[in-house]
C-alpha cells in the first residue's frame, strides 16, 4: 500500500478563551490517499471545520488557538512550518480549501478575474498578469463556467450561488494542489446545484488524482463522492471506515442515529427523526464516552472512554458495544 498523501496524527486544537479552554479538536488521527475522498461527518460544533482550518493553520487570528500533534503532507509536518512558508509553498500549490458560503467567499469589490488569477501569480506559475488572466480563464473553463473570458471581468455579485462556488473552486485548484479541503461546499446551495458541484469535484478528482476531504453534516451527499468516512463527535473521531461499510453496518449508536435521520421517500414515519439532547460543552467535557449522555444504548462501562475496536476491513469504532462482540 502506498504512503498516504495526508497523515494526521493526534491533532489537537484548543482555543484559549478568557472563560476557559475550548477543546474544539481533541486528538484525532486519520489518513487521506491520493485520488481518494475522505468524508468527515458530524453535527455543528463537532470540530470538523476546526480540523480543516488546523490543517491549513487558518485559525482566527485573535482566537487564542493552539494546534498540537502532527499533520504530515507527503511526509512533511505542516505544523512545523512558519506562516510565511505556509503562504508561499503550501497554501495553493499543496493544499487548498473551499468554504461553505459562496456568497461570502469572494471579495465583493474585486473582479473575479483579479481573484482567480491571483494564485497563478503568487506561486509563480506564470510571469505576467496577462498570462495569469489567461490561466484564470482556463480555470473558469475547467469548472464549466460558460464564456469564461467575458466573465473574468465580472464581479462576484453578478454570479449566482452555484456559479460562485465554481469560481471559488477554480481559485482553489488553480495551482493544482495535492489536497483539496471542501468544508460543506453545498450546504448553502439548492439541491440541484449540489449535485452539479459534487459532480464537478468528482471530475476534478478523476483528472488530477487530488485527495479530497469533504466535510459535511449531511450523510446523504457523502455517498456520491466519498470513498471513506470519518464520523466526528465533540472533537473526536468515533468511527471510520469505507462508505459502504458505514452505510451498511454502522457500529456506533451516533452513526446509526445519523443514518436514521436521513429522510427518504416512502418512509412510513411522518415525524423527522432527530437525535435528542445536546452536544456536550467543549469547555467541560466528560471523561467517558462523550456521546453517552444522549446514547439510547448506554451502559455503565461507558463512563470510561472507549478504546478503538477494529470491526472489519479498516472499519474502526470507539464504542464499548462493538468491543463486546
Amino acid at each position: 500500500m502506498n504512503a498516504p498523501l495526508l497523515r494526521v496524527e493526534n491533532l489537537q486544537t484548543h482555543l484559549h478563551l478568557r472563560r476557559g479552554v475550548v477543546k474544539a479538536v481533541d486528538g484525532i488521527s486519520f489518513e487521506v490517499h491520493e485520488g481518494e475522498t475522505l468524508g468527515i461527518v458530524g453535527e455543528s460544533g463537532s470540530g470538523k471545520t476546526m480540523t480543516c482550518l488546523s490543517i491549513l493553520q487558518l485559525l482566527p487570528t485573535h482566537g487564542g488557538g493552539k494546534i498540537d500533534g502532527s499533520v504530515e503532507l507527503d511526509g512533511e509536518n505542516l505544523l512545523d512550518l512558519s506562516e510565511d512558508e505556509m503562504a508561499e509553498r503550501i497554501r495553493g500549490p499543496k493544499v487548498a480549501m473551499i468554504s461553505q458560503d459562496p456568497m461570502t467567499s469572494l471579495n465583493p469589490v474585486y473582479s473575479v478575474g483579479d481573484q482567480v488569477s491571483g494564485p497563478f501569480l503568487y506561486h509563480k506559475l506564470v510571469t505576467t498578469v496577462r498570462d495569469a488572466w489567461a490561466a484564470a480563464a482556463n480555470g473558469l473553463r475547467r469548472v464549466r463556467i460558460p464564456s469564461p473570458e467575458r466573465r473574468l471581468k465580472n464581479f462576484p455579485h453578478q454570479f449566482s450561488g452555484g456559479m460562485r462556488q465554481r469560481v471559488v473552486t477554480a481559485m482553489a485548484i488553480a495551482c493544482s494542489p495535492r489536497l483539496l479541503i471542501a468544508d460543506e461546499p453545498t450546504t448553502a446551495l439548492d439541491v440541484t446545484i449540489q449535485v452539479q458541484i459534487m459532480a464537478l469535484l468528482r471530475s476534478i478528482q478523476k483528472e488530477s488524482r487530488v485527495g479530497i476531504i469533504l466535510v459535511t453534516h449531511d450523510l446523504s451527499i457523502v455517498a456520491g463522492l466519498c470513498h471513506r468516512i470519518a464520523v466526528m463527535y465533540a472533537g473526536r473521531i468515533i468511527e471510520t471506515g469505507k462508505v459502504r461499510d458505514i452505510y451498511r453496518n454502522p457500529q456506533h449508536p451516533y452513526t446509526q442515529a445519523l443514518l436514521e435521520a436521513i429522510p427518504h421517500l416512502g418512509q412510513k414515519r411522518t415525524r423527522l427523526a432527530a437525535i435528542p439532547g445536546q452536544p456536550p460543552n467543549l469547555m467541560d467535557l466528560p471523561t467517558g464516552c462523550r456521546f453517552a449522555p444522549r446514547c439510547p444504548k448506554r451502559m455503565s462501562v461507558c463512563d470510561e472512554y472507549p478504546s478503538a475496536t477494529n470491526v472489519g476491513d479498516n472499519h474502526v469504532v470507539n464504542c464499548w458495544l462493538a468491543a463486546k462482540h
Binding site: 491549513l56 503562504a87 503568487y122
Partner: protein, 304 residues
C-alpha cells in the same frame, strides 16, 4: 446610477436653496439690513437707493425672491471696504481655502490610514494603544489651539517653518496640520473597526487559503472593503474642515475665504459675509454630493 445622480443633485439644490433662505432670514434679523450693507457715513441718497434695490418696502417673500434673483446673477452687493463686488472678492480668495482644506484632508488621511490599518492588524499591541491615545487627544483640542502650539514649537522655538502667510509649500504645512488634526481621530477609529471586521471575513480567509501574500491581503484586498464606511463620514469631516478653516486661516493669516469672512464680520462688511457663507455652504453641499457619487467608484455593487 443615473437615478442616484439625479436624486442627489435634487437634494443638493434643495439644501442650497434652503440655506439661502436661512441666510436671508438672518440678514433681516437685525431689523435694518441697510445699516449692515452700507458704511455708517453713507449719504442718504445711497441709503434710499439701496432700500429701493432690496425692496425693503415690499413683503418679506418678495424680498427673498429679489435676494434670490440677484444671488443667481452673482450680485451680493458691494464690499464697501474693498470696493469690489462681494462675490468677486469671495471667488478671489476661494482657491486658497480650497488648497488649504485639500492639504489638510490629505494630511489627515496620511495619518489616519496607516494608524487605522496598523491598529487593526496589530490589535492590542502598543501601536494600537498609541493610535488610540492620539485619536483621543485629537478630538479634545480646538484646531486653532493646535495651530498656536505648532507656531510656538516650529516657528518660534525651532524656527523651521514660517508662522503666517502663504507663499511656498512650507507655508501650508503648519496650517494643514492644524486644520487636519481633528478628523484624524474619527477616521482612524472607523478604518480600524472596518479593517477588524474585514480581516475576519470569509473572503480574506479564502485569499489566505490560496496563499495570497499577507501584505497584499491587508493593503489591497482588505483595505478597499474597509474604505466604504470611511467614505460615508468623509462628508461630515469635510464640513468640520471648512468650519475650522475660518479659525485656522485667522491664526496663520492665510489669505483664504475664511479669514476674509472673519475680517468682514468685524469691519461690518455684510455683503462679503453673506456671499462668503453662501459660497461655503454651496461648496460643502457639492462636496457631499461628490462623495455620494464616489461610492460607485469604490463599491462595484452600487454601479450601473
Amino acid at each position: 446610477m443615473k437615478v442616484v445622480f439625479a436624486k442627489g443633485l435634487l437634494n443638493a439644490l434643495i439644501s442650497i436653496l434652503g440655506a439661502s433662505l436661512i441666510i436671508f432670514i438672518i440678514s433681516r434679523l437685525s431689523g435694518d439690513p441697510v445699516s449692515l450693507m452700507l458704511p455708517m457715513d453713507a449719504p442718504q441718497s445711497a441709503i434710499r437707493a439701496l432700500r429701493e434695490e432690496l425692496g425693503l418696502d415690499r413683503p418679506m417673500w418678495e424680498q427673498y425672491l429679489i435676494f434670490l434673483w440677484k444671488a443667481v446673477q452673482g450680485d451680493f452687493g458691494q464690499s464697501y471696504r474693498w470696493q469690489v463686488p462681494a462675490l468677486t472678492l469671495v471667488f478671489e480668495r476661494l482657491p486658497a481655502t480650497i488648497a488649504l482644506a485639500s492639504a489638510a484632508f490629505a494630511f489627515s488621511l496620511m495619518l489616519a490610514i496607516p494608524l487605522g490599518v496598523l491598529s487593526a492588524v496589530h490589535r492590542g499591541s502598543w501601536i494600537d494603544q498609541i493610535g488610540r491615545v492620539i485619536a483621543m487627544l485629537g478630538q479634545a483640542v480646538p484646531s486653532f489651539w493646535v495651530g498656536l502650539i505648532l507656531i510656538l514649537v516650529f516657528a518660534v522655538e525651532l524656527r523651521w517653518l514660517p508662522a503666517f502667510g502663504a507663499g511656498g509649500v512650507q507655508h501650508v504645512i503648519l496650517p494643514a496640520i492644524a486644520l487636519g488634526w481633528y478628523p484624524v481621530a474619527a477616521q482612524t477609529r472607523i478604518i480600524r473597526s472596518g479593517m477588524l471586521e474585514v480581516l475576519e471575513s470569509d473572503y480574506i480567509r479564502m485569499g489566505r487559503a490560496v496563499g495570497t501574500p499577507e501584505r497584499l491581503l491587508i493593503w489591497k484586498y482588505a483595505f478597499r472593503n474597509a474604505l466604504l464606511p470611511l467614505v460615508t463620514i468623509m462628508g461630515v469631516y469635510f464640513a468640520s474642515m471648512l468650519s475650522g478653516a475660518f479659525v485656522v486661516e485667522t491664526v496663520f493669516a492665510w489669505p483664504g475665504l475664511g479669514r476674509t469672512v472673519v475680517e468682514a464680520v468685524f469691519s461690518r462688511d455684510f455683503p462679503v459675509v453673506q456671499a462668503g457663507v453662501l459660497i461655503t455652504t454651496i461648496l460643502f453641499v457639492l462636496s457631499n454630493f461628490l462623495v455620494d457619487l464616489s461610492y460607485g467608484l469604490i463599491d462595484p455593487r452600487i454601479r450601473l
